[in-house]
């Protein structure tokens, strides 16, 4: 188990020595039990950092935001930025590095292992607690310790951990500058893509019936897109409207170009949006599961992304977030890529 003091000491040290200009981590949130992402810049702020099962956010998102702010202000990064990163977060950082979003020396990764328990799924916990609001959650060995008005109780992690953690194959941040906690790679609680397989066991009609319901329910709030570190495009393709582009066309004008998807949150438009996003994330999504967590209408978005990931692995031998070098999935090919489906 990680001693949170180690995280704080590491951050404090780096900031005091000027080795990083800031550290992205988690601190106690203002919304009940859950932690919230934060960016600290002074050594004394390191004491506010926390590490508990509610640290489910993918902090790579904050790295992207930091980079965007620098770019818009036309500033160069200077010293690297530190980031506390779980296994999933580190994989996301690898993808961003692979895509040259920033340089390896621009980021100092303080890896943290979620060991055997992964992180919490608040919806599952709410069901378990039958309406009693939790005020705190902590790692307790392989399980979680949750505090409510009734007191502290231990809950088996297996019952309330996030679905993505059940199937996670790389719970340890392999890409790091320093790492805390034990490497529990191989904890394999459920087979990878187990949820995907269960879904695919259904026939075509059942699958459409399912997705049609999801696409009907989607309100196109774009929470999924907003929380995804890999959805970093300044102008998302679904926000565009029609326009002619000339050399003198400004970025702002370009942001208002061809309308591939209408704005109204109706089934066909929503389906196009979600499928487009899944395809744009193919080979890039590391299954951090945040999109599914933040969806206000409970659309099981991981299914779409996992489908693409499994195709990447099985059909193309490509593992998202595995290595910084090498081309992306859709910018490369193998001579023996499947082609029997082509007439």
């Amino acid at each position: 188990m990680i001693n949170v003091q180690d995280i704080r000491d590491t951050a404090r040290d780096l900031l005091a020595k000027g080795e990083v200009r800031a550290v992205i981590g988690w601190r106690a949130g203002s919304r009940g039990m859950a932690a919230e992402p934060c960016v600290i810049t002074k050594p004394e702020e390191a004491d506010s950092l926390v590490w508990d099962p509610t640290c489910y956010h993918n902090l790579a998102l904050n790295l992207v935001n930091d980079r965007k702010e620098l770019r818009h202000a036309k500033q160069s990064p200077g010293a690297p930025i530190g980031i506390v990163a779980k296994g999933c977060d580190a994989r996301a950082i690898v993808v961003l590095l692979q895509e040259n979003y920033f340089k390896r020396e621009d980021v100092y990764i303080i890896g943290v292992s979620c060991e055997n328990s992964g992180v919490l799924d608040e919806k599952k916990l709410a069901t378990q607690l039958k309406g009693f609001a939790p005020t705190a959650a902590a790692f307790a060995g392989d399980d979680f310790s949750v505090t409510t008005a009734k007191g502290e109780n231990k809950i088996a992690a297996r019952e309330v951990m996030a679905d993505r953690c059940l199937e996670c194959r790389t719970p340890f941040p392999k890409e790091n500058n320093t790492a805390l906690g034990e490497d529990k790679t191989g904890r394999d609680i459920e087979p990878q893509f187990a949820a995907l397989q269960r879904f695919e066991a259904q026939d075509e009609a059942a699958r459409w019936d399912f997705w049609q319901r999801q696409f009907d329910r989607c309100i196109r709030c774009f929470a999924c897109r907003s929380v995804c570190p890999m959805c970093f495009c300044d102008e998302c393709v679904v926000d565009s409207i029609e326009m002619k582009i000339a050399p003198e066309t400004t970025a702002e004008e370009k942001a208002n170009r061809i309308r591939w998807v209408e704005r109204s949150a109706t089934r066909a438009e929503n389906a196009t949006y979600h499928m487009t996003r899944a395809l744009h994330l193919a080979g890039r999504c590391v299954d951090c599961g945040e999109c599914e967590r933040v969806c206000p209408v409970n659309i099981p978005l991981r299914l779409l992304n996992n489908k693409m990931e499994r195709e990447a692995r099985e059909a193309f031998g490509f593992e998202p977030g595995a290595s910084i070098g090498g081309p992306s999935l859709v910018a490369s090919f193998r001579d023996d890529d499947p082609g029997e489906f082509i007439r």
């Binding site: 049609q212 196009t272 890529d337």
Partner: protein, 143 residues
């Protein structure tokens, strides 16, 4: 009152300029008879076909979408069709995953000399699409 008309599937066909589009022209020039159900859209390369083209066609009510390019190894831009093969495999898998009928999206390699093959590809596609009926799942409902 017109009599019951046979359902004619509407196909949108993205044809690469260098091979497949030329192949379709050859089919025409050779006076090969084949169904007129495909609306051709010429693209520079099958590799330039974005998944959004296919989704957009389906959203606008296409009953079937065809993407056709040069044979492997013959791409005018060297690698375009290799990339198409990979990208469009993903599109095909995703559409099927969501419950869209497998036969609605198709890919083919048709060279500039294969007018007959192009006609055959379209003919087969129309026959495979007919029993499926109009594509309603991803079609945007305007009313």
């Amino acid at each position: 009152m017109s009599e019951q008309q046979k359902y004619e599937p509407k196909i949108v066909a993205f044809l690469c300029k260098w091979c497949s589009s030329a192949g379709s022209d050859l089919a025409g020039v050779s006076r090969i008879q084949y169904p007129a159900n495909a609306t051709p859209i010429t693209v520079p390369c099958s590799g330039s076909v974005s998944p959004m083209y296919i989704l957009s066609a389906l959203k606008k009510g296409a009953d079937g979408v065809l993407v056709s390019g040069c044979h492997i190894g013959d791409c005018h831009y060297m690698e375009g069709n290799f990339l198409a093969r990979r990208k469009l495999h993903l599109v095909k898998e995703l559409l099927q995953f969501c419950g869209v009928e497998e036969n609605r999206f198709r890919m083919s390699w048709v060279s500039a000399a294969e007018g007959a093959k192009f006609a055959e590809v379209v003919k087969e596609f129309v026959e495979d699409l007919r029993p499926l009926g109009p594509q309603e799942k991803l079609k945007a409902k305007r009313a």
